[in-house]
Amino acid sequence: MESETDLMKKKTKSQITVTKKKPIKPEKGLLGGSVLREDCYRIMNEDGTVDSKADPKLDKEILLKMYRNMALTRAFDERGMMLQRQGRIGFYVPSFGQEAIQTGTAATLEKKDWVFPSYREPGIFLYRGAGLYEMLCNLWGNNGDLSKGRQMPVHYSFPDIKMFSVSSPIATQLIQAVGAAMASKISKTKEVAISYCGDGGTSENDFHTGLTFAGVYKAPAVFIITNNQYAISVPFSKQTGGKRIVDKAVGYGMPGIAVDGNDALAVYLATKEAVDRARRGEGPSLIECVTFRMGPHSSSDDPTRYRDEKLYQAWLKRDPIKRLRTYLESKKLWDEKKEKVLQEELKAKLAEAVEKAEAQPLSDPMDLFEDVYAELTPQLKKQKAELLHEVELRGKFENTSEAFPL
């Protein structure tokens, strides 16, 4: 047990100091809105310009890779929503406006690190090299999907790149990430486990448990909280009586920092520091990425029923992709021509993968029985034989499913 004085001493160190630079104080009211705060660490101004003293001068390769991935994430989300609207897939969850968080955090990780994502993080899968075709097959739930069409769309699972299987229940993955981190600590593999949830997720019991365990064991874990200000329709003000998620870090005995989630550079630098700390054996950190959910909760949701329109309009101006592009252009790393080439390339790549994925058939009905256990139980063998008999008797099964309502 740590004494109160120990904790008090630590309290002064509770902010992550990012690459030993002082967080830049944003201009007053720059972030605006009811839960947007001036305490957020940020590098970019709202328009994407960066003061020369603040420029972190990141490696050109990383900057361009991040930009391309953010653009790809946006294009993927747009395509996902379109496929749903056209009735070609049943459901989609877009991540509009959250591209900098996904990419900025993913860019700090090594291949051996573990990621426990929520369901609104396609950009991390993409950054780590998940195939477009395999991701799209998940949207159709067909036999090209790595989880064999068993999960809803956007619930990806990519073991080869250590992207853990996405669950619908909220925040369950945070504790599991702590476990993966502890296994790394025990096995001395220096893997870091990073996990994600939203502002709504911080209200779940599993958030408390995950951070409690991580704090107690000093697990090499990083918690990224995407505060996009809505849990479906419920605003952030209904998730905590406090003002900031980052303040919770103190209670769990770990450092925390609030970051402008639409500033890819700030997200990258803050996460890099947290990941490095974890890898050095200095324990877990919490990063609150303040952003705004620019799209619906899912393809079944209508945010105009509850969204604060003024806030939405204000955040439109802070588009994370535009901001990073402006920065890259200021460094002569990007221009209109490159953008055109990139957009055409993304369009062609997506179109090709969509065509291929859509043509895939569903899994065989007999596949329903696989992966329940390592081996089929006698009961499952019996049920499989019964179903096989029924398939022979009936031939095709009519699909009478209703459309997904949420």
């Binding site: 049943g90 459901f91 159709w140 739930g141 067909n142 069409g149 068993r150 999960q151 809803m152 619930h155 669950s167 619908s168 229940p169 909220i170 709504g200 997720g201 209200s203 779940e204 019991n205 599993d206 849990a231 479906i232 329709s233 419920v234 209904k238 998730q239 905590t240 079944s300 949701d301 029923r305 509850y306 569903l362 899994s363 009905p365 596949d367 329903l368 029985f369 329940v372 139980t377 009961q379 499952l380 049920q383 179903l387 029924e390 008797l393 009936r394 099964f397 009519e398 699909n399 009478t400 499913s401 209703e402 459309a403 997904f404 309502p405 949420l406």
Partner: protein, 324 residues
Amino acid sequence: MANLTLVQAVRDALMCEMTHDSRVVLMGEDVGVNGGVFRATEGLQKEFGEERVFDTPLNESGIIGMAMGMAVNGLRPVPEIQFMDFIYPAFDEIVSEVAKIRYRSGGGFTCPMVIRTPYGGGIRGGHYHSQSSEAYFIHTPGLKVVVPSNPYDAKGLLISAIRGEDPTMFLEPKRLYRSIKGEVPEGSYTVEIGKASVVRPGKDVTLLCWGAMVPVCMKAAELCEPRGADCEVIDLRTLAPLDEERIFESVKKTGRVVIVHEAPKTCGFGAELSALINEEAILYLEAPIVRVTGLDTPFPYALEHIYMPDAERVALAVGKVKNF
């Protein structure tokens, strides 16, 4: 009379009870401003104010634990769990606390409340938006478990549940939320909890079902008629406490039983029904009881239409018991 969908009938019941009983309060994720993700509470916050209809933080044990405290202290909460698949963080509050408080306090404390939650598949929802986990709760003494299958019963049963003195799980078949409509009387009325309903009389085979499996069994009965089997379809409506008498009466008449549910077969409620019939009416049976259920696998996404019982599968089972 109004022609309502099942979800509109649920809303109508809440509206009626809130109007005449100021103790009734609603809470849950998205139930306030958004009117519930299925619109079961649409407009109710506007009508009754934020103190009686409110959005909660994203925390299911919080929703149920708080409702329990409110019930203990005189209110009549009707908490909503957005999907039955998300009820498990609240499992401890429900089975350890809500269900047992009357017993463990010698009747000194009670918590009359109704936990509303949509359940069941057939809506392309995958593992976490499709499950039918009634058996866990039927297995928990102290809870009543009610499952309507049509708008009229939904309203009447929900009103009975809210007026009841026991905590009640009110499981709403979300597949039927909007796919069926029915005449629903205006104003309050009740449908008695603990009573099954014979929705189709027949003499050859008894079909036992509830919720979204009722229309499936009705369709199966239609398929079976030209094949020479006259089915009696019983909508159990309340799973705990069970209307055993109505079941035995039918079994004694037909001597043949098919039990249909969405949940996996092993330890599904069908097992209990089968055991009861064996205990009380085995000498009347002309054929072994057959269960048509979900598979003993997690609920799948793309192949849910093969996982779930449908009319043809039920009809095949009817043929099997009829021709035993």
